[in-house]
């Protein structure tokens, strides 16, 4: 009995001195839900950021990245939406990836506009890519092909497909889409191999392919072009199309208390400004585009109304 009391008191003492006090946030590990598979772009970004975020939280706790792939990101979004808004479950989301099914009226278990948006991490635009040896060099060339241009894309509800249809319609480009490619890597290969004429691919993803000279750009959308030969949405006369981009945002469940929300927001913004994190971003060709909670929520609302306008293309 004496031994038991001794053991219990040692355990008690250990618990008392090692753990953070229980009334402050955070006093236990925080889970970041990643709605995609381990190893993907989102996953790696979240894992890398999580390490640096730990540095800027008031208590020493771990941030645990949890992969929850499924239903094109909807499973992860539902999980975060249903979690307790205590700050210990947050998620990294692809916008408009999780917004589009909501606008299309797909049955989903979350509401993008109700999530507690915390911060914006990065913004990525699209490049309209063609094979290096293609005669196409601009949107004008695409229009003058004498036949509808053939694009490659993933599934018809994917962000790349929707970017393709909205931009082509707005620019009055006659087009056809070969769907079914599994991920951007595959349709970039499709462009190189000549299955298709062109494709919309994330600007950061295509950088190594541009560098190696396998592909070239016909135009960019959602990012500003600094090359006079490559037009962006403004040069093309449709500045509204700059809304077409992929944004990585962090959010928690609806109804998160203000103090918890702001602790997390500050830690994220500080991590995004961390020198070591920036060095990693540089080395891997990743980008950062920090925005606070208020601006993030505004961006979410703007994005919702932008895609609402194009609802008819989203079927």
């Amino acid at each position: 009995m004496k031994k038991l009391i001794l053991v219990l008191s040692i355990i008690g003492a250990l618990m008392g001195c090692s753990g953070p006090s229980s009334d402050t946030f955070p006093n236990r590990d925080i889970e970041i839900i990643i709605p995609y598979n381990a190893g993907g772009g989102f996953d790696v970004y979240a894992r890398s950021l999580a390490q640096y975020m730990e540095r800027y939280l008031p208590e020493e706790i771990n941030i645990l990245p949890i992969n929850m792939p499924g239903a094109g990101g909807r499973r992860g979004a539902s999980h975060v939406y249903r979690a307790d808004p205590d700050g210990y479950t947050i998620g990294i989301f692809n916008m408009p990836g999780i917004l589009l099914p909501q606008i299309q009226g797909v049955k989903i278990n979350y509401d993008v506009n109700q999530l507690s948006w915390l911060s914006t991490l990065s913004i990525d635009g699209y490049g309209i890519i063609v094979d290096d040896e293609s005669p196409i060099n601009s949107v004008e060339d695409i229009k003058n092909m004498g036949r509808p241009v053939v694009y490659g894309a993933t599934g018809p509800s994917s962000t790349s497909y929707i970017a393709t249809t909205i931009v082509s319609t707005a620019l009055e480009i006659p087009y056809k889409v070969i769907t079914g490619y599994k991920g951007s890597g595959e349709y970039i290969l499709g462009v190189i191999r000549g299955d298709v004429d062109a494709a919309f691919a994330n600007y950061s993803t295509i950088q190594p392919y541009l560098e190696s000279g396998d592909i070239k750009l016909a135009a960019v959308i959602g990012v500003d072009s600094d090359d006079p030969n490559i037009m962006d949405a403004n040069d093309l006369g449709v500045p509204d199309l700059s809304n077409i981009k992929i944004v990585r945002m962090m959010a928690g469940p609806p109804g998160m208390p203000e103090d918890i929300r702001s602790t997390l927001e500050q830690a994220m913004l500080s991590a995004l400004d961390d020198q070591d994190f920036k060095a990693w971003l540089d080395a891997t060709g990743n980008d950062v585009y920090p925005a606070n909670a208020v601006d993030t929520k505004t961006a979410v609302d703007e994005m919702s109304s932008f895609y609402d306008k194009f609802k008819e293309f989203l079927d």
Partner: protein, 501 residues
């Protein structure tokens, strides 16, 4: 190239790096043995641990894992008729009958020899084709994917001539299961009944755990007894016999590893199909194909030599274009990015050193895991003497937990349980299970390749003979079909002639 390999070898040759590689091998073996878990899960779990390591250490450990899972998976395939990882499914066909005859040690010895040899041939092939890696990857587009899937399906259809109709029924069910979920071509949802789980389709690994692991354990519980029917027949000293058999059948090893490298390099098709095709070509080339499935050692050698070679194949698209050739490679690319590298077509220029380290680590790992496997054979073979009442609940529990652990989705466990019962009925009524698995893997590739080809060619069938690759594939399909039917036709003609005479 030799100096690059030597450099990589000297990078690895530090006590710490070798220890991490061996740690990876241990981890890979355990994850390979447990049905459901595999290289992808092992890599994903160890990924956060690599934060604190140098890039070289991280790659040595990853290579250790990837090279070892095949050996681990072969052990469960042989001893329990449960493929530890998906590509080991073909090994069950003759490996398990061998275990039943008490020749488990021989089968494991053969697998442990075929694995590293296959891995080595795979690496040699990879190094030889590396300069033309880009051109090779570009040979395969939607029409070629479709033809490859058809080739795979034709191979299954004809794999068991005594059981042709039942095999086709099984493959048909597999195709039906393959079409469940979101269709990336049309955007429609099929047979999902509004469920988010079914949106992603029927996952392969839980299906395999059910069809093989759960099924076998149900069977064992019902029949009672042990895996090896006769305890006195269990020979634990057959290892050398297995090793010798593999060395004697070096042709099978080379053919298997070539098959593994080529098919392993095609994203989305990968190991399961590669090992199966290696198995069935070996069977067809044999003088006595009918005896396969009853415990032929060649039936273990062929798939296992393809199994380690497929990793080299999967490296091809990864190196050439930064596109992962397998799920394991996808996680490996993630580890690369975490260590500040950028995957893509420039990888061979920028990350040459790391790639060679991975190649060396893969090769060393195959050798280490084989040595560990051989060293443990004695104790492992004892599993076949454990009574079903004890073995079945253990294996079922471990398999189902493994299935859940992949993605923590309860639905995966339900799929494993349902297919376990379906598998038992198939076993009971003598329907082969592997055609279902292969059709499940290939169904989507076949459909997607066909629809995409038709969209690209605007409905012209000519696209399927528009490239040299596709013409070769069409010929392969025709030869495979002819090979199986013509001898039969000739025989019946001769018989008819004899009758009329």
């Amino acid at each position: 190239m030799i100096d690059l390999l030597l450099n990589a070898l000297s990078d690895i040759a530090s006590v710490k790096t070798i220890l991490l590689l061996v740690l990876g091998v241990m981890f890979g073996l355990v994850f390979g043995v447990i049905p459901g878990l595999g290289g992808t899960t092992a890599l994903a779990i160890l990924m956060p641990l690599t934060f604190g390591m140098t890039a070289i250490d991280a790659f040595a450990m990853s290579g250790g894992i990837m090279g070892a899972v095949a050996m681990g998976g072969a052990i469960s395939a042989i001893l329990l008729n449960t493929p530890g990882t998906a590509p080991n499914a073909a090994t069950t066909l003759d490996g398990y009958p061998l275990a039943k005859q008490g020749r488990a040690a021989e089968a494991i010895g053969a697998a442990a020899t075929a694995s590293p040899l296959g891995g080595l041939f795979g690496v040699i092939t990879l190094l030889m084709v590396l300069p033309v890696a880009k051109q090779l990857v570009l040979l395969f587009g939607p029409p070629e994917f479709f033809l490859l899937a058809v080739f795979g399906l034709v191979t299954i259809a004809l794999s068991d001539s005594t059981n042709l109709l039942r095999g086709l029924v099984s493959a048909g069910v597999g195709l039906m299961l393959a079409f469940v979920g979101y269709d990336t071509v049309t955007g429609g949802e099929r047979f999902t009944y509004g469920s988010d789980y079914l949106f992603d389709g029927i996952p392969l690994v839980p299906a395999l755990v059910g069809l093989f692991g759960v099924t076998e354990m149900i069977h064992l519980s019902i029949t009672g007894g042990t895996v090896a029917g006769d305890a006195s027949a269990v020979r634990i000293h057959g290892v050398m016999k297995g090793i010798k058999a593999t060395l004697k059948n070096w042709r099978i090893v080379i053919r298997g590893s070539l098959t593994g490298t080529i098919i392993g390099s095609i994203p989305g098709v990968g190991g399961t199909v590669a090992t199966f095709i290696a198995y069935s070509t070996t069977k067809r080339a044999d003088a006595d194909p009918e005896s396969f499935g009853t415990g032929r050692i060649e039936g273990v050698i062929a798939p296992e030599s393809a199994n380690n070679a497929k990793d080299s194949g999967a490296l091809l698209p990864t190196i050439a274009f930064g596109i992962p050739g397998s799920a394991e490679m996808a996680v490996f690319l993630g580890i690369l990015v975490l260590h500040g590298m950028q995957p893509g077509p420039t990888m061979l220029l920028n990350n040459e050193r790391e790639i060679y380290v991975l190649i060396i680590a893969l090769t060393l790992s195959a050798v280490f895991s084989a040595i560990i496997g051989i060293a443990l054979v004695k104790w492992l073979a004892m599993i076949t003497l454990v009574r079903g009442q004890i073995l079945a609940p253990l294996v079922i529990a471990v398999s189902l937990v493994g299935t859940y652990a992949i993605n923590s989705r309860p639905g995966d466990v339900v799929i494993a349980a349902i297919l376990g019962m379906v598998g038992y009925l198939m076993l009971r009524f003598n329907y082969p299970r592997l055609p279902l698995v292969i059709a499940l893997v290939l169904g989507e590739t076949a459909e997607r390749g066909f629809l995409q080809s038709m969209m690209i060619s605007q409905g012209s069938w000519g696209i399927f003979i528009s490239s040299v690759t596709s013409i070769i594939m069409v010929l392969l399909i025709l030869i495979t079909l002819g090979w199986s039917f013509i001898p039969g036709i000739l025989k019946s003609r001769r018989a008819a002639k004899a009758k009329s005479d």
